[in-house]
Amino acid sequence: MKINFIPITYWKRPILLALISCMFTPLLRASVVNHPPLAIDERLISEKPVRSVQWTSNKSLEYTVKGTVISSEKEVLPGVTVVVKGTSQGTTTDMNGDFSINLSTPGTTLIFSFIGYATKEVVVEGAKTLDIVLESDARGLDELVVVGYSAKKLRYLSSSVSTISNEKLRDVTSNELPNLLQGKAPGVVVSSGSGDPTKPASIVIRGAGTISAGTTPLYVVDGNIDGTYNPVDIESVTVLKDVAATGLYGSRAANGVIIVNTKMGKAGKTEISVNNTLGFANATSGNFKLMNSQQLYDYQSTFYPRDASVLNTNTNWWNEAFRTAFVDNHNISASGGNDRTTFYTSVNYYKEQGTLINNDRTGYNFRTNLKTKLTDKLTAAVLFNGQFTKDNLQHSNTLYDAYVNLPFDLAYDASGAPVDGRYYAGWLGRDRENFLQSLQYNYATGKTLRTSLDVNLDYELTKKITLSSYNRVNFGNESGVTYYDRRTKQGGANGGELYNTSNNSNRQLTSNRIRYNEEFGKHSLALLGAAEAEKSYNEYQTVSGKGLPAGHDVMSVATDILASPTAYSEQVAFRKFLGQADYSYDNRYFLVGSFVNEFSSLFGKNNSSANFFQLGASWVLSNESFLKNNKTLTFAKLRASYGTVGNATIPNFASLGLYSISQSASYAGLPGASPFQKGNPDLTWEKVKSSNIGADISLWNRIDLSVDVYNKTSDDLLYQKPLAATTGYSYIWMNAGSVRNRGVEFNLTTKNIVSGDFTWETNLNMSFNKNKVLSLSDGSTTFNPGNRLPIAAGHDMGEYNLPIWAGVNPENGDPQWEKLVTATDGTVTKELTNAYSSVQTTQSRQFTGKSATPKFTGGFSNTLAYKGFSLSAFFNFVYGNWVYNDSRFYFDNDGLYESYNVMVLPKGMSRWEKPGDIATHPKPIVGGNKDSNQSSSRYLEDGSFIRLRNVRLGYTIPVSIIKRIGLSRANVFVSGDNLWTGTKFTGTDPEVSFSRGDTEFTQGLSSIKYPISRKFLFGINFTL
């Protein structure tokens, strides 16, 4: 690919002007004087091939070295950088892996480097032909890890990070990164509250340390905050866990940082890859089963006898609501380039049907990453990503009805048309709804268009100083349509209802950086300074109409408005300055320190900017003379870090005292204003103090172990404190109290067998986290008392506080709870009662000692390879958490809802029938047995599980066969996701969201669960 450039003089100056920035340059200048010679950043060597130098010399000593570079897998390697050690003279290999270089001094050392391969040094004395074999960098310690603002070899990092390659990431089939990350990195707890393909899983890194602010980690895509990406374009994901790494993201780093790097092209032959995956999915139902007609009839006969004619119908509503769903993923990408310009471009189509009818997600994704050396000193990268997503959302109570509709009611009439529950004589179910009837006409859809454009410039001012400008613009557009036809129950009352929502957003970000590298003797120093500014804008609109002709779904045919239209817009600004110094001595001792100052418009005017600092150190023991060349302990490193970061994820304007001027404040058509939010101008960031100690050890180059111990204290917790109603306000945002998370995590990778054709690798990672509320402000002991998950000093934030269920009274079958009675002398005793109203008070609720957060989580994988075959099995597990199975309120209600279906009692549970029975379930009574289904520890269940998340068998077709049809690589596989789950949980699936700040699902709650899918997939991938 040839690119013609604009003559230098025209563009050089404006770009430079636009380019650079840094507050810290005067400091850097001083350093230039004090610290002589240079350090070449490894990244510069490997990512920017030095252009072949035309070497003309009349010295007779001149000689030429030629050769070929191949991989250990015998593939030729184009684009390998060949550099003369100690100079910038060099070349790169061509399409055939060949290189040729003219040298003048005997005994010159050539360095061969290529991404993904171990760097090799060769000393040449004279003219020679070399055959260089580069070993692929399987161990990963020498892999360059992008830790936000810089890249460093994993071996020399002072912080706790986990890197997951594209290959490891994409065993499971999903279009969402969180779902792919589950169980793959210690300390990264992924939980999916739903099997709905339109709802990605949530992530909590190293425990939740906030009350009302978010727990979602910060995503950094291609070097800048936020941005869009699709999993197919991901080269690698790095999770930053401790402050030495996350710290540079200051006020947004409290929940950890996930670094996503998309693929860039490599110089050499253009590669076209085609990847296809096809498969089908079914809903998992676990230990859960609903009654059929006969079972329900027999059960209800004991307290609510029905006419035997109901047995004429036996509808399985669950089966009516669920289906075999199809999954479809196709991707074509092309990449390549020459020594100056590289490109990667990719198109992706992903469609996943939900196992629930009428629910699916279709995603279209386009990306082009272009990188070019405009001059020897200036490199530009232009990255573009466009994504369009179409969702059919689950709607119309389908899931709810699938759980509760009675098997006595008919789904289809004699003609095969769905019955309308509202008018069907003899319909017995409470809600009189057949979702099959309404789904013929009703729908809810969402469309999202997102684009992201990055323009990144790197300018090498001198050998030691690099100036960079990373700029991004995002545009987003979302729209939603919900339509309830007049012929259905939902739309019937208003003669049809239509809701339109739309949202437009844009975001601009510029990050300007200066980097300085210095090396003298065994010392090396890298300094970084950056100035960043960011501004985002969002606008929202909703319109709703009623009275639409049947089957017509645009706003213009609506005869009237349903609710007044609404619209609003909002803006947020951030500004950040940061500085970082990274020092090392002899590759043995490493020190890194950084300082961040940040401003955000989100916070109160009195506290809108804050400072954060971080320190990290590490010691590579294996580079010490006493351990060097040790055959057993091949690598050993100790790490430590300490620092502060913040959490800024709160709603806009949380600090302001506000009057509402929306329609809700108007009266009789006149605009009004009414008090809305109590102000707190002192509101500020949540501040997290975090320390981490870790060790990385390698034995015989076969066993890699990383262990980390951390302590994370969050102070000034952001809390939306409910106010007593008598204040006239609902809540106030405040900084209240502190929470601590402590934990241990480890990652163990062993190469059990490495012998010629056969390899077997095992990975086990586990993380243990303990959460504790240390103190609360205002002298409070409990926030949100009376809540299922209150925040109480001395307790885990996820600890349930409920009336304690005390089983069934064997004499009369009554439900019983523990009632706390305080005697006059202050002693508290427990007695059993059947009066729920006396135990559900704040005073009588008790801490259960059971928490919604797991004691430990982890993943376990085995990968076997023999010749072209590979087999991998991956388990993830969660232990020691308790799930509140809220839906049992509906389908396990002891007679309260005789017009709902009931779950079949799993093993170990029984109903009270006669005096003397020791049973788990009270006697069923019409109208309910004394509030037995109200919120209590009765529905708290052990949520531990182990799941076979993925099994995959792949075969790489030998090159000798596929060469004939013009392919260079081809691979086929069969794969299964979520094939088996081991759990005691009685619901369909034990997995619930562990994320506290999650708006869609509450922590630890399983309610009308959309179970996750069991998928079977087949795939074929080939490269031209």
Partner: protein, 173 residues
Amino acid sequence: MKFNNIKLFLTIGLVTLFSVSCEQYFEPTTTIDETTALANESDVQTVTIGTYALLINDNYTTSGHYLMEYPSDEIAQGQISSNDLTRLYRYTHINTSSHATAYWSQAYKVIAAANKVIAFVSNDASDELKQLKGENLFLRAMVHFNLVRMFGRPYPQNSGDNPGVPILRRRCD
């Protein structure tokens, strides 16, 4: 190098200026700052309309209707409902009843909003303003009255000496 220095400092200056210019605050679009909401006499009418608006909120009207009518003989519940109204109908009140909580908190929102106007308008203000102040005084009294009717102990008990409901007399910031 010299030339580069000049360029460097120039860009540093520009970028710093640009970054600092991003230190801005924004105003919300559906709400207004309380310091400007009730600042002059013309605001009094707007805020009084806001007090009326709080009265027509579902929390006051619908929940109030359930609380007052459902325990009466005017209503017969035809079908079981998971809505809290069933408890009101059956006289099985619990202290976390959603309708009681909604009515209680909405009532105090009306009172707090009225208090702001009452405190703002002095007794020697113009007739128009005193009219508005009077309306707020009336609304506050009416809501207090309804709260006592709904949540206070019956008057004949203990010769009327039982506590009723908290009275919010002043604005509460």
